[in-house]
């Protein structure tokens, strides 16, 4: 009863800590969770651009050209590339969430398997979209 506390080595350790040093261990699950939120907010900002693009349809042809010119610039293309990945990530990870909502794939191996599927798929779909975009020009 009055035993000393167990030596530090045998004490249970948080799953978020590396066993040897006790430093915080990075997890894919929490990173993907915050990325889902971040991509959603980024896409929300992107709706301003979409609306600007649509509104330019009501102006002069030169107004529309100005929007297209901005989107075609290096800065515009970087933004569009980011939004392309954000939309595919949010879409794929959103489907992952919908699957969880049905009570499926909630075991740890399946959570990681789904996570890698979403990451790979979002990058592949982004590349496919941009290759298609350049070939449709």
């Amino acid at each position: 009863m009055a035993e000393a506390a167990p030596p530090p080595r045998t004490r249970p350790i948080s799953p978020f800590l590396f066993p040897p040093t006790g430093t915080y261990r990075w997890q894919m699950t929490s990173t993907m969770s915050i990325l889902h939120r971040a991509s959603g907010v980024a896409l929300g900002v992107g709706t301003l651009l979409l609306t600007w693009w649509l509104l330019a349809l009501l102006g002069e042809p030169s107004d529309f050209d100005a929007v297209q010119e901005f989107l075609g610039s290096i800065f515009g293309r970087i933004l569009l590339l980011g939004w392309t990945w954000a939309v595919f990530y949010h879409l794929c990870n959103g489907i992952r969430h919908l699957v969880w909502d049905t009570g499926h794939a909630l075991t740890l191996p399946n959570v990681y398997r789904g996570g890698w599927t979403v990451i790979v798929l979002s990058v592949v779909l982004t590349l496919v979209t941009w290759v298609a975009g350049y070939s449709f020009r």
């Binding site: 709706t47 649509l54 330019a56 297209q68 975009g133 350049y134 020009r137």
Partner: protein, 133 residues
């Protein structure tokens, strides 16, 4: 411990959660986010496909595309579902990170106001192009 009595229920977890909360709307936000998410899966894929097809297009071509009934209907639905989903998502983000009641309320009103304004502008544009002049 009476609640631990094993009993077969014909109601699932979702059915049990519905109608909870003081206003009986405890599940409404969660459910609306899921419904709009499901609607956005095909609508978003259609939107991406359309935008890729319109890469580098001039005003006349995009105007012509949007004035087609199928484009106008799907774009309107995309706008409504997307801004609704955005509004629900942003609400959750603000409620999670802003804890002072006054700041939270102000932030929600500002962000949701901006979303409604942007959504109205986008939707008006689509209707204007589709109906003509």
């Amino acid at each position: 411990m009476a609640s631990h009595h094993p009993q077969k229920r014909l109601v699932g977890p979702l059915g049990r959660a519905r109608g909870l909360g003081s206003a009986k709307h405890g599940l409404q936000h969660w459910w609306a986010q899921r419904v709009s998410a499901i609607a956005l899966v095909p609508l978003t894929l259609w939107f991406i496909f359309s935008v890729v097809d319109l890469t580098g297009a001039d005003q006349a071509r995009v105007h012509d595309w949007l004035s087609r009934p199928a484009s106008a209907i799907l774009m309107s639905l995309f706008i409504v579902a997307m801004f609704y989903h955005l509004s629900l998502g942003v609400q959750t983000v603000v409620e999670d990170y802003v804890h002072r009641e006054g700041v939270k309320l102000t932030a929600l009103l500002l962000v949701k106001g901006l979303i409604v304004l942007t959504a109205a502008a986008a939707l008006f544009t689509v209707l204007r192009v589709a109906v003509g002049s």
